[in-house]
């Protein structure tokens, strides 16, 4: 397997609310890798990702994005990151075209380059017919596509997605998956949380399983099966076994 530089390096990351949400988490994701983060509700997946993108301040630990210290120099790290949550946050009164222009402005992308990328993304995601309509009447799937285009318009090297396929129809979900795989082939790293285990099984190069704020298992699907002691089973069975073992140990 080809060795890639580290896209994301998390060390001893901690975050506590009324109880520990993330507990001394270590995680490394390489450039060009599609990494899926699995875990039961409240496991700490979203909290971890929100700390990486700068939406939450960790209590302790370090986060490095392509060598940039995300805590000491968040602006440098953010320049390389895209964040897409399960609830697409876009502006109802802007058109997709205007939204992408705004995002390009925030990331400081040169207008000509940004426009070319925006047109390419709009075409790729099948939004041409609605490119100059305000987003206020858009369906959830269309909004998610606009948000995804916004996440990709500045060509991020690290794409972080929290349940990006929630509420998408089959065709849109396939489109999003294809776009993400294409980006990993171009050298970007993708980290995605999902409850759709079939997606993780088919798309991920590596899968991490989080429970109780800790990474309890990590590897390819076969490696996870071996860790769970269940060869030849589905990811669902493997995942449930790993989580149950962790719960029993706790």
């Amino acid at each position: 397997m080809r060795e890639y530089p580290s896209a994301l390096d998390i060390r001893a990351l901690c975050k506590r609310f009324d109880r520990p949400a993330v507990d001394h988490l270590d995680l490394t994701v390489k450039a060009g890798e599609f990494y899926t983060l699995l875990g039961p509700n409240g496991a700490g997946k979203t909290t971890t990702l929100r700390m990486v993108v700068g939406l939450l301040r960790p209590d302790a630990g370090s986060i490095s994005v392509f060598g940039a210290d995300a805590l000491a120099d968040p602006v440098a790290a953010k320049q390389m990151i895209a964040w897409l949550s399960d609830e697409p946050m876009i502006y109802d009164k802007l058109t997709p075209f205007e939204y992408l222009e705004f995002v390009a402005g925030l990331w400081g992308i040169e207008a000509g380059l940004a426009e070319a990328r925006a047109r390419e993304l709009i075409g790729w995601l099948g939004l041409e017919a609605h490119a100059h309509e305000r987003c206020e009447g858009f369906s959830k799937g269309m909004r998610q596509k606009v948000a995804l285009a916004g996440a990709l318009v500045h060509e991020p090297k690290l794409i972080i997605l929290d349940e990006p396929l929630t509420g998408l129809d089959a065709a849109s979900a396939r489109l999003v998956k294809n776009v993400l795989i294409e980006r990993t082939r171009a050298g970007a790293a993708v980290i995605m949380t999902t409850h759709i285990l079939e997606v993780a099984e088919r798309m991920a190069d590596r899968i991490g399983v989080i429970a109780g704020g800790r990474l309890i298992a990590e590897g390819t699907l076969d490696e996870l099966r071996r860790q769970a002691g269940k060869t030849g089973t589905s990811l669902e069975d493997t995942f449930l076994t790993l989580v149950a073992e962790r719960a029993a140990a706790a």
Partner: protein
């Protein structure tokens, strides 16, 4: 427990929703605030009673139903209250049709929608009357205590006005639906509601300026010209005033009229309201308007992109724009005053200075809330590679730009008439705008832009801090025109107010 789907069952449901909605609004949705809220309500009632003593106490014993001047004043007060009630009623009726919270459930259930909407209209009437009764109670109580039981008729008149306001609001909303259709009615009804609320008070001020050269409404109402032009004391026009002053037969007539109006409007319009609710549901399914297609992207800095975005969102949201700019209706009298002073060469524009400063502070508070708390994509902005300080600076600049656009004509005109007052006004506007924006920044929360009208509920402290800072800067600017020493003292007080607000503001969130 009442039988499901009966009128009483729906009424109980509506009352429970209305109560919880009010409680959530007053406590900003936080648990454990019920006791402090109750204590605050009692304290406010006591303060209002004390204020009422000084405002109406001296009139309690002397007022008479044969005195035209009294009838004019009482009628004007009643009309002012009625205008505000009608404004609130129109807004509530519109919200009842367009707010989809439970209408989809009700419309898809096997109950007579007409019945549900009839109950909803009655609940709105009851809530409006109740609110007006609560606000007028201190004044009526003081009048009863000092002038006798005859003043109890005031409660009956306020109740009748609440019923009549709801009835008229139903008819008006229906008329707007028929004339404009479901797509435009929401916006127009909100504007109409705001105009109704402001028209009477602004009309009185304009009349006072044109006839007496002052902005005082009281001076106008007490003027001999108005009293002389008023109808005779036995005219039907004075019926509500006579009822309020203790005429029992007038009270009966007024209350019966209110009840009949509401009953008739429920019978006539509740079925149509059901149709309107269905039509309003379809509005969201209509595709959004096409924006003007531009040729291409423009290279802009992040700060400019943020400023441009704020202005575009405001410009494209007619409802939000109307809600924001509606505050400027109150600038009409000062504008007229300025024009009159300019034409006549008098120095009446001196009173404009604090009015302009106060208005700028209030407008800036609303705009700053939209820019800071009403950010629709906070995570996008927070994850962009920009320093948080730069984001905030761009948003402040967006607010300042809008304020400059609105107030520049006033300052330029004042500059011609009196450069000194123009400079003082401009400085006051900058201070009030900056302070209101700072308060919104310190007390920022994440909210939907559509909750603009309820923004005060998220933090009472922020609301009061914003209002007091606007008042303090207005006072500072006013004092500057007469005494620099007093102005400096007031300026220090204004800054102290801001420092106090900063000290008790919540800790800054990391991301924003």
């Amino acid at each position: 427990m009442s039988t499901p789907a009966t009128l009483t069952w729906f009424a109980r449901h509506e009352v429970r929703l209305a109560w919880r909605d009010w409680l959530a609004m007053m406590t900003a949705g936080r648990r454990g605030r019920e006791l402090p809220l109750a204590i605050a309500c009692v304290a406010i009632l006591i303060v209002m009673h004390l204020m009422a003593v000084s405002m109406v106490g001296s009139h309690a014993a002397t007022a008479s139903i044969t005195d035209t001047a009294t009838l004019v004043t009482v009628t004007a007060s009643a009309l002012l209250t009625f205008a505000l009630m009608l404004s609130q009623a129109v807004e509530s009726m519109t919200r009842a049709i367009y707010a989809r919270s439970d209408l989809d459930l009700i419309l898809s259930s096997p109950v007579a929608v007409q019945r549900v909407l009839a109950i909803r209209i009655l609940t709105i009437a009851a809530s409006i009357a109740l609110m007006a009764l609560l606000l007028s109670a201190p004044f009526i109580n003081v009048l009863v205590a000092q002038g006798g039981a005859r003043w109890l008729g005031g409660y009956g008149v306020v109740l009748a006005m609440g019923l009549a306001a709801a009835a008229l609001a139903v008819a008006l909303t229906d008329l707007l639906f028929r004339l404009l259709g479901p797509r435009r009615t929401r916006l127009v009804a909100q504007i109409v509601a705001a105009i109704i609320g402001a028209t009477f008070i602004i009309g009185l001020q304009i009349a006072a300026i044109l006839s007496l050269g002052t902005m005082s409404r009281v001076a106008l109402l007490e003027s001999t010209a108005i009293v002389a032009a008023a109808p005779a004391v036995d005219s039907l026009v004075w019926l509500p005033a006579r009822a309020m002053l203790g005429d029992v037969s007038a009270l009966g007539t007024v209350m019966a009229a209110g009840a009949v109006m509401l009953g008739a409007s429920v019978l006539l319009f509740s079925a149509r309201f059901a149709d309107h609710a269905v039509a309003a549901a379809g509005v969201a399914l209509v595709s959004a308007p096409q924006a003007r297609v531009r040729r291409g992207f423009r290279s802009v800095s992040a700060a400019r992109a943020l400023r441009h975005k704020e202005w575009t969102l405001l410009k494209r949201d007619p409802w939000l724009l109307s809600q924001t700019l509606m505050q400027l209706l109150y600038l009409l009298p000062p504008a007229l005053m300025l024009w009159k002073s300019f034409a006549e060469g008098t120095d009446g524009f001196i009173v404009l200075v604090p009015v302009l400063v106060m208005a700028a502070g209030q407008l800036a508070g609303g705009l700053a809330w939209l820019a800071i708390s009403g950010e629709d994509a906070p995570e996008l902005v927070a994850t962009a590679p920009i320093a948080p300080g730069m984001i905030m600076r761009a948003k402040v600049e967006a607010v300042m730009g809008a304020i400059a656009l609105v107030f520049a004509p006033f300052i330029v005109t004042l500059l011609v008439v009196s450069p000194f007052h123009a400079i003082v006004s401009a400085a006051g506007i900058v201070a009030a705008t900056g302070s209101a924006t700072a308060v919104q920044f310190w007390f920022r929360t994440q909210a939907k832009r559509s909750h603009f009208r309820r923004r005060q509920t998220s933090s009472r402290v922020a609301t009061f801090a914003e209002a007091f800072s606007s008042i303090a800067w207005a006072a500072t600017a006013a004092l500057m025109t007469v005494s620099i020493v007093f102005a400096v003292i007031m300026g220090v007080i204004s800054l102290a107010l801001l420092a106090g607000a900063r000290a008790i503001s919540p800790a800054r969130a990391y991301a924003s």
